[in-house]
Structures are given as structure tokens and as C-alpha cells.
Symmetry: C2
Subunit: 342 residues, 2 copies
DNA sequence: AGGCCTTCTGTAATCGATTACGGAATCGAT
DNA sequence: ATCGATTCCGTAATCGATTACAGAAGGCCT
């Protein structure tokens, strides 16, 4: 618990060389074998550990990356975080996480405070993309990678999911299984994923010749089980579809529960497909077919884009789209075979 | 993207005062209203943001807490992390997370590297408590709070789950429901939770007069679905119990799946109870009765202990135990009522 | 008016590293 | 032996904040 840690000066004295030599040896710069040996021995003997502040002050690097998501407990973000942390650690960076709770001012405050320099870059996954946020991003003094979509005039690396492709994949799958009246239990339309999935649903319903009945669409107040149940109840009070697409796995699972309570069999009476393909999909009864949007891959890609930009700030802005992948399980299967699809 | 951020000197010049005054105003130390006004205006006009390194170098504080867990993707750790992040943010600290993968040398390396000073304290949740780890903890130059159990001679704040109490609660509940041949699908016995739960199981089987048949106990290779399935298969190949306690929710769910595949009804033929009470418990069919060990509360408590110790390094060593809480759902109910218990 | 106390302020030292710069030593070639 | 080119090394400046210390200014009392 003592506080007087040895400094570079003490190591230098102990080794009988100058501070410059100590620093050089410790940073792998050229030095004679004797000097090297003496410094290394002294450092080891004293248990020397360079002070991160002093070093950072001089070299202007914290070796830290920040990750900002709405909720660190959300399985999708957890997966991203895991990928980012992995990637960062491999390349010698630590990871700072912070929850913004989806609140725009908290996000702006974070963006601002990162200007203090304690992180070299930021991976941001905003729930809503507002003008104020874009302004802040434009003005940031450090590299940012956005997981999500940003307007093309904002010159920021980003990696996005292909929500539209995922919705199409799900609807084609249901169509192939003979479903025609496909309902959509979506999350809030004023969120990035909510609106994208909504538009894609419209488009593909038309393209595939599915029933365009407006009453087949409901919007839950949030991407949660509880809100999903309410929305599903509302849906069933109006009409009974032959399939349901959930805006995410929780909404799909909530719908399955409500369907069961109404004595509708899954998938015989109503087929169900979720989105995000979280761990939850494998444990329900029946197991849930779900379209994964590559959270892990998005996280990994975002981390790489950020680290690459730190190495070369001048490189061209990158925009990467991660493709969806559907895992077919029981909830949507009427006789066909299970498996994966791209 | 420019790099020449204003410094305290520039603010001082712009405000027509000294650097000392600038620092004082910005840190809320006494100053005349005019000085205060001038400094605040200058700082705002220049968009001044204090450099975290320079400040940290002088005051020896990073305002950062570190959290080390085996796997940031594990729901139990996620919950802890969420609680810790919350608590830290409220008190003005940021949170660094890192996965140790449960490897002891990675953990030791982390302990060591924190000595560089980039975090003021650490919350550690070790999978296995080895002598080498204890040595490292004893030698740490910064406060550590352990989530888990440490020997009483190691003077380190810690907060522990009451695994034994949780197991007892589960077994009493099953006993009350008329079960007598209760099986235990546990995780590896060489982990902290694995061994504690194992011992508690033995003890309570005897205390409650349950069937002590050795063949009712199996050990999965890991706390995962896949290993759980294997273990459950092995169990059923030997004997059919009237109830199963899972070492965690995943093991319990895997067991439920295997039971269903063997045409055993839950809970009529076999009752099932899990541990940890993760989100998964609410989405299975039937829903899973599970004993929560208070991950969130352990996280919050750990954060508070750490922050309190940072404020007063001399305070007495604290040891807190968080009580379990069982949520009764369908998987264990033979006619009784659902609800919570302490 | 003089002396003392209080309140503000500015100068300069300090935290602990990295690194520009110049000097010393060594070596080889002539 | 002399010269230049290389290597290595040490001194001191630097990064950007905080803060000890001392001086200046103002108020109050006798």
C-alpha cells in the first residue's frame, strides 16, 4: 500500500546511467548491451512501473478506447462489447464502457468529456441519430466510429447492419413456408433500427405479394418483453395472422408467449421469426428462428476501423455493411429443414 | 480534428490573469467574482478542456475504476457491470472493463499493469482463488474489492454471494413440493461457485432427508448449455429423479431440454430449479424457477465499497454477504402458488 | 497614521515520463 | 596519426496541469 513508487530517475541512479538511457532501453530504442542489461536489472530490482500519466502527457496517447452504447446490459451491445474488448486488448488498448441510457444529452456530454484526452478514440452506437449528435461528431477532436448509419456528408467511419436485408430474408423464408398474412411486431419507429425495419417490412410485403393489411402491424413502446406482450395482445385482438416477425428476439418471444396463451400452436398455426439471434433464441420452446444482424462482427469491425484510423488518421473514410444471417429453428418450420442461411 | 487544444496558460492570457487563478476558478477554490467571471468566460470562449494526463500526473487520480471478470458476456457479470458502471458514473468515475478469460496469468498481468496508475481501484471477480492470486492481491498498491470469497487473513474488502443459502432455499422448496429424489447438475467443482454449491447440496440433502444416492449428482464440464446437455444425458442414462437443481440457469435449461426429449413432463414428472435467475429464466417453457444470487446488488455493493475506500483508505475491512432470492415460476410448481421468497 | 489580519493573486516548483541536441568515444580508411 | 562517420550517452527542455509560498491590497482597530 505504499505510494512512493520508483521513478525513472531512481532507476537511472540505481543502474548508474542517465534517465534518457533508461527510457530508451525501456522503449526498445538502440542501446549498448551493457546499458540495456544494467537498466533491465535495475528496473526489475526496484519493481519499476512507468507512470501512465507522465507517459501519456508526453506522447499524447492513453491506449484507451471508449465504447458508448445505450445499455451495457442489452445482449446485442454485450456481444459488440465483447468483440471490441477482445480486439482492443490484442492491439494493446484498454476499453472504457459507458451507458448513455439512450439520452442524447448524456451522449453529448460524453463526446465532450472525451476531449480531455483519456481515450484515443470512440466507438459509438447511437439509438437515435439527431442533428445535435451529428454536429458534435463533426466537431470531435478524436476519431469516432459509429455503429449504425450516418448521412454520407458526415465523414465518419461507420459500420452498419443490414436490417433491410434481414427483414427480407425473414419474409422470404416465411413466404417459402406458405405464410401470406405476416404480422410485424416492431419496436418504436423513432429509433434507428425501428424505422429501418419498418420501411423494409413495407417494401418486402409488397415485393412478395403478402397481405398488405395495415392491421397486421403493431408497434411496441420499447424493445422489451413487457411491451411486446402488450403489442401482441393488441394485434390478436384485431386479427390472427399466419406468421409474425418480431422487431427483435424479445418482441418475438413475448409474441410466442401470448400466442400460446391464446391456444395458437407455433409453428403450425402461427410461425414466428425474431431478429438479432441472441442467446435467448436457443432456449425457448419451440426454439426461435431468428435473423442475426452480426453484432459481434459489427463490434469487431468497428474496433478495427478505429484502431486502423488511429494508426493512419488520413486514410479514406470507411463504410462497412455487415450481412445478416438467419438461423432457422423450430418456430418457423412447417416441414422444411433447419439450418443457416445468408 | 486539430490538435492544438488551449492550455491553462492560454486561458490565463486570454482572461488577463495567472495560471494559478485559472486553476483555482476551475476547481472551485476561492476567487474574486471578477476573476471568476473572466476565467469562465475565457475558458468558454476558447473551448478549454483540461488535459486529463497533466491533471492526473499531479493529483495522482485517474477517476477510473477497473472491473475484471472472466467473461464480459456472461449474464451474471453483465448485471454486475451494469450496476458498477452506474454507481461509478454517479460518483464521477469511469469504468474500464477487461475479460480475463478466467486465466490466472492474465489476471495477474492485469493486477500488475494497474500499477501504472491508470485506474484508482479494481473490482475483481475471480473464477478460482489461487495462492498466486492472493499474493498479488496482498501486494497491490491500490484498493481492490473482490466479488467472491477470500480467506479472512487477506485484508481485502469483499462481497460474496450466499451460494449455500441459495441451494438450501431451492432444496427446501423442492422438498415442500414433495420431491425426494433431487438430482444436481452442477458445473466444474474446481471453480468457486461449483465447489460451494456442491458442498451446500450435500449438506442440505442430508438435513432434509432427501435421497443421498450418489448417482443423482453429475458435473458438467462447464457452465454452458452444451455441457449441460451432456451431463443431463449422463444423468438420465443412470436414473430418473423427481427433481433437478441446475448449477446455473444454463445447466437447468439444458436439463429441461433433455428431459423433454425423453418425454418427461416438467414439472409433473420432474421439477426443475436453476440458479442465478437470469433473463433466460423468464422465456423458457415452462418458465424456470430460479434462485438469484443478487448479481446486481453484489456489483453495486462492490462499487460502493471501493469508492468508500478510495475516500478513506484507512477504514476497516468490510465483508458483505448478499442474500439469495428465489423466484418461483412454472418449472417447479406442483399445485402451489408462484412468487418470490427470501 | 500605523499595525495587524484577511483575502486575492502571481511566480515558480513540481508531478514523471520522452526526446532534441550536442558531446564523447570508437572504428576504419587513408 | 588524422579525419570523418557511427554509435552511445547525458543534459536539459518539454508536456499541462496543481499548489506552496510570498507579496499586494484592502479593512479594521487603536
Amino acid at each position: 500500500m505504499t505510494t512512493d513508487r520508483p521513478t525513472v530517475a531512481r532507476v537511472a541512479r540505481h543502474a548508474g546511467v542517465s534517465v534518457a538511457s533508461v527510457s530508451r532501453v525501456l522503449n526498445g530504442l538502440p542501446a549498448s548491451p551493457e546499458t540495456r542489461e544494467a537498466v533491465e536489472r535495475a528496473a526489475a530490482e526496484l519493481g519499476y512501473r512507468p507512470n501512465a500519466f507522465a507517459r501519456g502527457l508526453k506522447v499524447r496517447r492513453s491506449q484507451q478506447l471508449a465504447l458508448a452504447v445505450a445499455d451495457v446490459g442489452n445482449p446485442v451491445y454485450v456481444e459488440m462489447m465483447r468483440a471490441i474488448e477482445d480486439e482492443a486488448r490484442i492491439r494493446g488498448y484498454r476499453l472504457l464502457v459507458s451507458s448513455t441510457g439512450g439520452r442524447i444529452d448524456d451522449t453529448l456530454a460524453l463526446l465532450d468529456s472525451l476531449g480531455h484526452g483519456y481515450a484515443d478514440g470512440l466507438v459509438l452506437s447511437p439509438v437515435r441519430v439527431e442533428p445535435a449528435l451529428l454536429d458534435a461528431l463533426r466537431g470531435a477532436t478524436y476519431p469516432v466510429v459509429v455503429i449504425g448509419t450516418v448521412p454520407t456528408d458526415v465523414r465518419i467511419d461507420n459500420v452498419r447492419a443490414n436490417s433491410a436485408g434481414g427483414v427480407r430474408m425473414a419474409l422470404e423464408h416465411l413466404h417459402d413456408n406458405g405464410c401470406r398474412r405476416v404480422a410485424f411486431v416492431n419496436g418504436p419507429a423513432d429509433t434507428v433500427p425501428g424505422s429501418a425495419r419498418r420501411r423494409a417490412f413495407e417494401r418486402n410485403v409488397r415485393a412478395l405479394g403478402l397481405d398488405p393489411d395495415e392491421s397486421l402491424r403493431v408497434e411496441a413502446g420499447d424493445f422489451t418483453l413487457a411491451e411486446g406482450r402488450k403489442a401482441a395482445e393488441a394485434l390478436l385482438a384485431r386479427t390472427v395472422p399466419d406468421a409474425v416477425l418480431g422487431g427483435n428476439d424479445l418482441l418475438a418471444i413475448a409474441t410466442m408467449q401470448v400466442l400460446s396463451e391464446h391456444d395458437l400452436r407455433i409453428p403450425e398455426d402461427v410461425a414466428v421469426v425474431g431478429m438479432d439471434d441472441t442467446e435467448l433464441a436457443g432456449v425457448t420452446t419451440p426454439t426461435l428462428t431468428s435473423v442475426g444482424l452480426g453484432a459481434l462482427e459489427r463490434g469487431r469491425t468497428a474496433a478495427r476501423l478505429l484502431l486502423d484510423r488511429l494508426e493512419d488518421p488520413e486514410r479514406e473514410v470507411q463504410r462497412v455493411t455487415v450481412q445478416p444471417r438467419m438461423t432457422v429453428r423450430r418456430s418457423s418450420l412447417r416441414g422444411a429443414t433447419a439450418g443457416e442461411a445468408r
